[in-house]
């Protein structure tokens, strides 16, 4: 599996080159949110706003009112927790094109509960006019900017940083409100987002060898959540639907899928895997994913409960799985 480093830092520079209306705002986390490249390349379009997020969000709204497309970067918690009123009154009400890049989703940071954005999707999803994207791999980080820019109104992006694997083929770009079908199957429909998708790919490969047929979809748009592929996928599995997210199970992907199922009268079981209504604490990603049940082993256990059968899958079986970047639609056809 190919691992890429600091993708947004490079990509933003080339993408923004001929877009003079794009400005970038930072709250003293410039390198940490991979905008130091932009700062060096376009110092006139880079604004250091200090550790003052409420002012930064309202300031961005003012700049948007005069025609700029401000791209605010900081850790996610400092956006939706620190400045929620400003997001509502200054930005979202007026449907202004302020683009909010929130870093450190869920347990992707050892920074502990104050830095871990575990309920950002739930909070932002409840705000009218808001669009919500989440990146799951290198290809999505590389190809998300057009959709962010072209969306009419505010966008919140759950961003990954640092070293990120390429799970999806380079030629298979991010498309808003379109889930990626990573495998086709009939027993269980598995819907995942963000870093959980890699874990689920690992698990579903082993599950196939054990005779469990999994339809796996990767979601990168949380709002709007109207993709017909979701409804189609939740309508048909024999045992039911499992969601898996790096987020509290309340208000995020699991809830989005539950709403689609309930509103369409899909009478199937749903199991939501994620942070089970709990905060986490500081630690390595590996440790936290295991402790809070967000890894591939947790998914296997969940599926075993679902189908009431023990599959005898070991940690080693999962660790030995080699993941290659998939071309989602091609793979879907192949299966």
């Amino acid at each position: 599996m190919q691992i890429l480093s600091k993708i947004h830092n490079r990509n933003l520079v080339s993408w923004a080159e001929n877009r003079p209306d794009v400005v970038v705002l930072s709250a003293d986390l410039t390198s940490s949110t991979e905008i130091n490249g932009f700062q060096s390349a376009y110092p006139d379009r880079f604004f250091s706003m200090g550790v003052a997020e409420q002012n930064m969000l309202s300031f961005a709204a003012g700049m948007a009112k005069e025609g700029f497309v401000p791209m605010v970067h900081t850790f996610a918690v400092f956006i939706y927790r620190q400045a929620l009123n400003q997001i509502n009154s200054s930005i979202a009400y007026s449907n202004l094109p302020v683009k909010m890049f929130g870093f450190l989703p869920g347990i992707t940071t050892p920074g502990g509960a104050t830095h871990q954005a575990i309920e950002d999707v739930a909070v932002m999803r409840s705000i009218p006019n808001m669009t919500i994207f989440e990146t799951g791999d290198a290809t999505e980080i590389e190809t998300i900017m057009d959709a962010v820019y072209e969306t009419n109104g505010p966008v919140y992006i759950r961003m990954l940083r640092g070293e990120v694997p390429r799970l999806f083929d380079k030629e298979d770009p991010f498309i808003p409100n379109k889930a990626r079908i990573l495998s086709k199957g009939t027993d269980i429909t598995l819907i995942t987002s963000g870093i959980c998708t890699e874990e689920a790919m690992r698990a579903s490969a082993v599950l196939g060898s054990k005779g469990v047929s999994v339809e796996h979809l990767h979601v990168s748009t949380h709002k709007p959540f109207t993709d017909p592929r979701i409804l189609e996928a939740v309508s048909k599995p024999k045992y039911g639907v499992i969601t898996m997210e790096n987020h509290t199970i309340i208000g995020g992907l699991g809830t989005e899928v539950a709403e689609v199922m309930a509103e369409n009268g899909i009478g199937k079981k749903l199991k939501r895997i994620g942070l089970n209504d709990t905060y986490a604490h500081g630690g390595s990603r590996h440790y936290l994913m295991r402790k809070y049940g967000l890894d591939s082993m947790a998914l296997i256990t969940g599926i075993e409960e679902f189908i009431e059968t023990s599959l005898n899958i070991s940690e080693e079986d999962l660790a030995n799985i080699r993941i290659e970047a998939v071309h989602s639609s091609a793979k879907a056809e192949a299966l």
Partner: protein, 299 residues
């Protein structure tokens, strides 16, 4: 300046009439800010002709990607062209005073007030982005200054000659975001922005000095890098002169020390609760009615 003083008296009169008619209103805010708003509109701001109808249209729905009928109340302040100033009133509960000012300076018809606080109207009690004279959501205090800062910074980058004017209340200086905004205005040398603060010393719970002391406000602002001028809020000449100060590389803050009972001594009896006036009896309402008839005869 006689004209400005006269307009300010008209503002007070109309707000008082309205308060009597509706048995309630933000009356003391008219008393404290009438000269500030009259001077801004008549002597300070460079605004184009209103682009809005004299009678405000009904509520167009909230802004969204699909609402093509949406409009902002800033149309009453003329076009948002590079050469013109922008105006943002922050404490949105001053709405009635702003609507009345628009009427007295000929940007809106007096009948507009018939829609005040009526269902389906844009002439709302707490001004919203679509309300006449407003251009953003100021109802949650302290966000307007930051937004106006973003606007001023953008206009400065584009070398636009027009300035940005903000009207604030003193209570907003209790909000942390206000100080975040001031430090940012100083950091980016935003000198195309001027703020008029109505320092009436009053807020919802009573006197500002009892609720949360702001003194010494001028020194605090100076320490944050602002250029400050302190004036009598009821002296149009002083107000207009303050706007002419040269303040290179710094935002201008005009501290307008006002009397929340100015022109209506009857209000003194209600101290220290002046934030919203609702008459407690028909007798009290009558008292104000008599006062209106006597005091504002011929205004």
């Amino acid at each position: 300046m006689k004209e400005t003083l006269h307009t300010a008296e008209q503002i007070r009169k109309r707000v008082l009439e309205h308060t009597i008619k509706n048995n309630g209103g933000y009356l003391s805010q008219a008393c404290s800010s009438a000269e500030i708003l009259a001077t801004l509109y008549l002597k300070i701001m460079h605004l184009g002709r209103s682009l809005a109808p004299m009678i405000p249209p009904p509520f167009p729905g909230v802004p969204s990607a699909s609402n093509k009928n949406y409009f902002r109340g800033g149309l009453y302040n003329g076009p948002a062209a590079p050469e013109y100033d922008r105006f943002y009133l922050s404490p949105a509960h001053y709405a009635l005073v702003l609507y009345t000012t628009l009427i007295e300076v000929g940007r809106m018809a007096p009948e507009a007030l018939d829609q005040f606080n009526k269902d389906g109207s844009t002439v709302e009690m707490i001004g919203a982005e679509h309300s006449p004279g407003f251009d953003m959501m100021g109802g949650s205090l302290a966000q307007t200054l930051s937004q106006a800062g973003g606007i001023a910074l953008t206009r400065k980058k584009r070398n636009e000659p027009g300035k940005v004017w903000v009207f604030m209340s003193d209570g907003e200086f209790q909000e942390g975001q206000t100080w975040e905004a001031v430090q940012t205005l100083f950091h980016y040398k935003i000198d195309n922005l001027g703020v008029f603060i109505d320092i009436n010393g009053q807020q919802c719970d009573g006197q500002t000095c009892d609720v949360m002391c702001l003194d010494p406000l001028e020194e605090r602002l100076k320490a944050f890098g602002a250029y400050t001028v302190a004036v009598n809020a009821h002296d149009p000449e002083a107000l207009a002169h303050a706007a002419q100060h040269s303040h290179p590389d710094k935002p201008l803050f005009v501290l307008c020390y006002s009397d929340p009972c100015r022109g209506m001594p009857l209000l003194e009896k209600r101290k220290p609760k002046l934030h919203y006036v609702r008459f407690t009896s028909e007798a009290e309402r009558d008292e104000y009615r008599k006062f209106l008839n006597n005091q504002f005869q011929g205004v």
